[in-house]
């Protein structure tokens, strides 16, 4: 192995003396490097946006939810809450009900999700709903439930008028409009009685693990269902993961093209070094070591491109994020500039992919070279 490493190193250093091969090698190296830069920066951009979405999700969403296994009403919510308080004293527990209602302003009436929460004292409409209804803080809306009450005129939908105290940001993934009201108001509109549909739990210290922790505490209860942050936001998280995979594959194609260029480069070196290879074989270099020598050559070029590209890519992402060089319109996004976040594991995967493709690109010419009888190369000369 040491002899092959020695030769590969000398060949790579000596490339500069042969203009044509050196130029092609430089193009291969720059191609791979640019591919890695593109992949690292794109994935850092994606990770930046996805991180901000996940941060937002953690800030605003419920981290775990306890629901009845069947039906809509949760039995013994107070007993469950006290059990959880014992096991998780720092976790915030909120009783909640939810129902789809018609919400009407003086301008329009739209269906929306009405959420009643025990930690809420005033009514808040999210931006989506506020925009649809043309209302703002200090406005008032009518909430019309699908529940009916009997009147002398016959059954009519239950209706309540609430004053909007605040217009807040929409929860990630919620596009239909949400009206958050005090629990008692929601219970009156949706149920007509003090029912609780779910316990919403929040633990900012370990939001992603809260579901599993609650499952441990309430193990053996088959009358309830416990949903973690992942379960509650599965469609959104799946969409984010899918987006990441598709971008990785799409931008990764640049690396494939660069690797094909490397294949041509290694094949060109193999053709140019035909005589040298015959001489090396005549000196006793076995075919498997000839193949290894060419793999090392390709990997040497690939490693220089991959690591160089990774350094440039990480630096670019870091500078763009630190300086906020790409501003975003205020009010549209939750962040003021395009966020970049470099995940070391992601960089390692990109470098690994580049090295793998380099090895693959070198493997084919190396096989061809290793099969040649040494006399062929000497006769050719």
């Amino acid at each position: 192995m040491r002899a092959e490493l020695h030769l590969a190193r000398r060949y790579l250093i000596g490339l500069g003396r042969r203009t044509n091969v050196a130029t092609v090698t430089l193009i291969s190296l720059v191609g791979l490097g640019l591919g890695v830069v593109a992949l690292v920066v794109t994935l850092a951009l994606l990770e930046g946006f996805q991180s901000s979405i996940r941060r937002d999700l953690v800030e605003r969403s419920t981290h775990a939810q306890i629901r009845p296994a069947s039906g809509r009403v949760l039995g013994e919510p107070d007993q469950l809450a006290s059990l959880l308080h014992e096991g998780l004293p720092d976790v915030e527990i909120v009783r909640s009900v939810r129902g789809n209602c018609l919400v009407a302003s003086t301008v329009d009436a739209v269906p929306a999700l009405v959420v009643g929460r025990s930690d809420v004292e005033s009514v808040m409409a999210d931006r989506v709903l506020a925009a649809r209804l043309g209302i703002g803080a200090a406005g008032a809306v009518d909430v019309i439930s699908s529940r009916r009450r009997l009147t002398p005129l016959g059954p009519v939908p239950v209706r309540a008028r609430v004053d909007i105290a605040e217009v807040g940001a929409a929860e990630p993934g919620q596009e239909g409009g949400v009206l958050t009201v005090p629990l008692e108001v929601a219970q009156r509109i949706i149920w007509g009685s003090p029912e609780v549909e779910a316990l919403d739990l929040k633990d900012l210290s370990a939001p992603w693990k809260l579901g599993a922790t609650v499952r441990k505490i309430l193990a053996g209860r088959d009358d309830i269902v416990i949903l973690g942050l992942d379960d509650l936001n599965r469609p959104l998280l799946l969409a984010l993961a899918l987006e990441r995979i598709l971008i990785f594959v799409a931008v990764g194609l640049i690396l494939v093209v660069a690797a094909l260029n490397l294949l041509c480069n290694v094949a060109m070196v193999a053709a140019e070094k035909r005589r040298d290879l015959a001489v090396l074989t005549s000196l006793g270099l076995e075919p498997v070591r000839v193949r290894r020598l060419f793999l090392l050559l390709g990997l040497g070029i690939g490693a220089a491109g991959a690591f160089g590209g990774a350094v440039v890519g990480v630096a670019t992402a870091w500078i763009l994020d630190a300086t906020g060089a790409l501003p975003l319109p205020r009010g549209v996004f939750v962040v003021s500039s395009v966020p970049f976040s470099v995940d070391p594991m992601m960089v390692a995967k990109v470098v690994g992919l580049a090295l793998f493709l380099s090895a693959l690109a070198s493997w084919l010419p190396s096989r061809v070279v290793a099969r040649r009888e040494p006399a062929e190369g000497l006769r050719y000369e």
């Binding site: 040491r2 060949y11 000196l283 006793g284």
Partner: protein, 233 residues
Amino acid sequence: MSDSGIMVRLHGISKTYGEGEAQVQVLKGLDLEVRRGEMLAIVGPSGVGKSTLLHLVGLLDRADEGIVEIDGQDTGNLSSSERARLRNSLLGFVFQHHHLLDELDARDNVALPMRIGGKSATLARRRAEGLLDTVGLSQRMTHYPDQLSGGEQQRTAVARALVMRPGLLLADEPTGNLDRTASETVFRLIRNLHAEENLTSVIVTHNEKMAGQCDRIFKLAPADQSSGYVDVS
């Protein structure tokens, strides 16, 4: 090494190049033995198969028919890797063109077979320096091939051929590209090292004077001529 007095034994060797109408038979039913310690010159007109013969002895090519025994070992069934290892440990080559690697200086070129053989870089360099000194190139160790004259390049190639202390030296027109003075220097060097290192040498040459200084001359004629192969002792 085998105790047998025969270092190289070829029996019934045939070799053909090309296919169909372009087929050319270069060697046909050739028999040859080279005794241990002998210096054999192979002569003959161009295209008669001298280099092919040397390549077959050097395990750089495979015969279509016949037996090639080196140091008592039948090489017919050896794998490519086994043949490569045998070349590294037992054979030394000097080609008509020096065939030094452009990327390595003279010392690293000479040390290369030892590095391929798995010896340490330090040991290989020390042996290479000793040999370069022997061939009169102690002042050229860090020179690259393109910084050496033709004679110096070929002397470096001779040093490289001997760095593994081979039993068999194979030289394919080693002075073919050199002027008269350089040719004489290189041949004298090969002859001296042949004696000093206890070598068996097979030298392909067009130079009759040089062939005449060898222990034995083996004359090759075209395969289709009835005269065949003549041992001129």
